[in-house]
């Protein structure tokens, strides 16, 4: 009987602790994080062999934190690091996620255009500004558009699988 009591007490305590510990991330943020993570696997950067891919996130703290969490949990399975905040140097980023005012987006985008940086945003007119991948809403789903003209100005190699799934501009 003592075993049963011990077991139920242990279960009660662990469940109670876990409720207190509960934390939530909106699904939209998770999908964006998963997209950025998947882009690391379907895009080739020149001269990046063996080095960790750097994902930079501006203007979306929850996305940055989620990616940091993912990077730490990957345990070396996929080597990427995350920098989030406002002081970002696009030259150090392989993927640059931009979120914020049009002016901030334009400034960083212009700096990134001269680099082999995969620029991503959910800004509505991101492609028109010269961004490479735009995340957009489509009937309750989040999909992505690839701006081939912007890609052609870099040395990035985007896999056919990614192109197949994207809306092409």
């Amino acid at each position: 009987m003592i075993y049963w009591r011990t077991f139920f007490v242990w279960m009660g305590l662990t469940v109670f602790s876990s409720i207190l510990y509960a934390a939530q991330n909106p699904l939209e943020t998770k999908i964006k994080a998963a997209y950025l993570y998947n882009f690391t696997k379907f895009v080739d950067w020149p001269d990046k062999k063996g080095k960790a891919i750097q994902i930079c996130v501006t203007g979306d703290d929850s996305l940055g934190k989620l990616l940091e969490d993912l990077a730490s949990k990957q345990g070396g399975q996929e080597k990427f690091t995350v920098i989030s905040g406002s002081k970002i140097n696009p030259a150090e980023c392989q993927i640059l996620y931009l979120n914020g005012s049009n002016r901030e987006v334009d400034t960083l985008l212009n700096s990134a255009k001269e680099q082999n940086t995969l620029t991503v945003s959910d800004n509505e007119h991101f492609s028109e500004r010269g961004g490479i991948i735009t995340l957009f809403w489509d009937n309750g789903k989040i999909r992505f558009e690839i701006n081939l003209l912007a890609v052609s100005k870099t040395n990035l190699k985007i896999s056919s699988k990614l192109l197949e799934l994207a809306k092409i501009r």
Partner: protein, 687 residues
């Protein structure tokens, strides 16, 4: 008594629900995916699936209801939670409704039941190709698998019988199938190392590495376990030991998959196991070798046509040394068994209309089973030499009509046995063959996006194995094993089920399934003696197994989830010729099994999982006068996992498993007894 236990079970299972409604600030109407931790989230969804996730709260993110059978999926995350993933695949299914898994010992096959029938009515498959639910389950390493799909209900059209002549003999998918799916999607380099120690001087080391080089992806792995183990036989039983029963198990495995073109893929999986040791007496050594191969070719011929061709090899070599126990411990003889089975399968799928699939194919198997004995003077005497082969042709059409999915199929099957030697003598009947045409139908009604009904019905048959006909015993007075029964007939059965699946919301699932399985001339194994241990198979007239499975699964928060299930089974044998068996329950089937499991994510990256199982009453024989009663015991297992270090280069986790916490040394058939409480601790490094 039983009613009060059922009531108690569901009070315990549903109690957290009331807690949730009272305390949780989070509405449970958001998406199920939303509650997955980010690492599990990216693992769960491919790039294609990401763009199909419906984010709005009004629909379920994943609602694939396109098969008529109920399928339960156990993935790697659950393997890890269960903890007991090093020794036998059947233990991964221990807490699944409808199943009863009796873990006899680390050196023996597990035994149990499925949907009210013996475990042999649920075929095990490796990527859709049959394998042995006893031998391969002891052999294969769970790190090779991506997931397990437990398909409930009759499935004898697409999947053939397994022709094994050893252990329980043939296996047929009358009550369901369990498909172990090998890892296939490898898109990154990853390595794992695990070192552990546990009770009975158990030492375990595992290694795994996967990578992708261009169009070639592969994984390789190894597993070594040594232990002094402990007494696992009842006092004075044939399993009584004088020393600790040492064992060593070594596994090597790997898979290579090559994308020949965007529409063609070929893969090869191999697995080798060496299992050596003794059962605790001087002349009770064993030496087993198991080889398993799967070769697979997939081709997408057009948007509508897909071809899959598979072939495999299952090669089992087993050797047992026997002594003169209980008279003395002197050497008497050594038994050698060799079984080689080659299954092949070719299946063509034609997609047409809106979600309809026509499947046609053919499969075959070849089996050669040989056994011989060497005595103290090294004289060799052949015991069994049997060949078997089967051929099958199958056709199935699945049609989607709005919210209805309807499936129907037929299979033509031919099985032939050639007996050169049975039990050391040349039999009078040197061959036997069976032709059967089987059918299977099923339907699912997706009544709403969250509620589905399903029903399935189908026939199956099973031939007696050579071991069941010829036995494995030369001297019935002293030998342990299987007694012969030359008058065995094949059995023919029908399986039926009906049930529903209800996603009450995206976090909470309920299920209920009724099954009714009937077998004519059922071949039943009964324990005749326990010292020496002897079983015999016989046709038990008609057997009927009916029951109900209740399931619930609830992911309450990102940090805790639980499941509960209950299986009630009522079985009986109708045997007008033998009053002693008439009305008896089918052996090894408990009248109920209840399971509860809770997993919680605690602060400081500690994960805690606890499982309670309660097994009802069951017997070891259909003989009402001589059968023994077993069961009526609880089993409590737990696992704790703590992340020690994690960065972008590697992670280190510490794991502790506590098995049979209540230290219940329950007795099992054939004189086995559970050794009681044991623990295991390990460190897992991923990089």
């Amino acid at each position: 008594m039983l009613l009060s236990r059922i009531t108690s079970f569901f009070v315990v299972a549903f109690y957290p629900l009331t807690l949730l409604s009272a305390q949780s600030p989070n509405p449970i109407t958001k998406g199920y995916l939303e509650l997955l931790p980010i690492d599990k989230f990216v693992d769960a969804l491919s790039l294609e699936e990401l763009s199909e996730v419906i984010v709005t709260d009004t629909k379920i993110a994943q609602s694939v209801h396109s098969v008529t059978q109920n399928i339960q999926v156990i993935d790697q995350t659950e393997f890890e939670r269960l903890g007991k993933n090093r020794r036998n695949l059947a233990e991964l299914l221990q807490y699944t409704s409808g199943q009863f898994v009796n873990i006899l010992s680390r050196n023996d096959a597990n035994w149990g039941s499925y949907a009210g029938l013996g475990a042999k009515y649920n075929t095990y498959m490796l990527d859709g190709l049959p394998m042995d639910s006893f031998v391969d389950a002891m052999s294969l390493d769970p790190w090779a698998f991506e997931r397990v799909e437990v398909q409930k209900g009759p499935a004898s059209i697409l999947y053939s019988n397994y022709m094994s002549m050893d252990f329980a003999g043939n296996e047929a998918p009358l009550a369901g199938t369990t498909n172990f799916i090998l890892k296939d999607k490898i898109d990154r380099q990853m390595s794992r190392l695990q070192l552990g120690i546990g009770s009975y001087s158990t030492q375990n080391a595992r290694a795994y590495h996967q990578d992708k080089k261009g169009d070639l992806s592969y994984f390789v792995g190894a597993n070594l376990e040594k232990s002094n183990y402990t007494q696992y036989g009842e006092a004075l039983s044939w399993l009584q030991t004088v020393n600790n029963p040492d064992y060593q198990k070594t596994k090597l495995y790997g898979k290579m998959a090559y994308d020949v073109s965007p529409n063609q893929k070929v893969s090869l999986f191999f697995h080798h196991t060496d299992h050596t040791g003794d059962t605790g007496r001087v002349y009770r050594d064993f030496d087993h070798r198991y080889e398993t191969l799967n070769l697979k070719y997939n081709a997408k011929l057009s948007d509508a046509l897909e071809l899959q061709i598979q072939g495999g090899l299952r090669d089992y070599t087993r050797q047992f040394v026997n002594d003169n126990y209980p008279i003395d411990l002197s050497y008497t003889n050594t038994d050698h068994y060799r079984q080689t089975i080659v299954p092949v399968d070719a299946t063509l799928n034609y997609k047409h209309g809106d979600g309809n699939v026509l499947t046609l194919g053919t499969d075959a198997q070849w089996n050669h089973f040989k056994s011989y004995r060497t005595d103290a003077l090294l004289a060799i005497s052949s015991q069994n030499d049997v060949k078997a082969r089967s051929n099958g042709l199958f056709l199935q059409e699945k049609v989607q009509l709005g919210e209805w999915i309807v499936r129907g199929g037929v299979r033509y099957n031919h099985i032939r046995h050639d007996y050169t030697l049975l039990g050391g003598v040349t039999p009078e009947d040197k061959e036997a063959s069976w032709f059967h045409t089987l059918w299977n139908i099923g339907a699912r009604w997706n009544m709403s996006p969250t509620f589905s009904w399903y029903a399935n019905s189908g026939t199956s048959f099973m031939t007696p194995s050579a071991k069941q006909v010829g036995g494995t015993i030369t001297n019935p007075l002293t030998d342990s094993g299987q007694l012969s029964n030359a008058s065995l007939q094949s059995e023919f059965g029908m399986g039926n089920d009906i049930g529903f699946e209800w996603h009450a919301n995206e976090h909470l699932q309920y299920g209920m399934r009724f099954f009714y399985n009937k077998i004519k001339d059922a071949i039943v194994d009964s324990v005749i003696k326990t010292s020496p241990s002897q079983s015999q198979s016989f046709n038990a007239g008609q057997t009927v197994a009916r029951g109900v499975e209740l399931d619930m699964k609830h992911r309450v928060e990102e940090t805790w989830e639980y499941f509960a299930n209950f299986t009630y089974t009522n079985t009986h044998v109708e045997e007008s010729q033998h009053s002693d068996s008439d009305g008896a329950a089918i052996p090894f089937v408990p009248n109920y099994v209840a399971n509860i499991g809770i997993t919680t994510l605690l602060p400081w990256e500690v994960t805690s999982s606890g499982y309670i199982q309660y097994v009802g009453k069951y017997y070891d024989s259909t003989s009402k006068s001589s059968r023994s009663e077993f069961g009526n015991y609880p089993l409590i297992n737990a696992k704790l996992q703590k992340n020690i270090l994690r960065n972008s280069e590697y992670s280190i986790n510490a794991l502790v498993e506590l098995n049979n916490i209540a230290d219940r040394r329950y007795v099992m058939p054939w004189g086995f007894i559970d050794p009681g409480f044991n623990a295991y601790a390990s460190v897992l490094v991923t990089f």
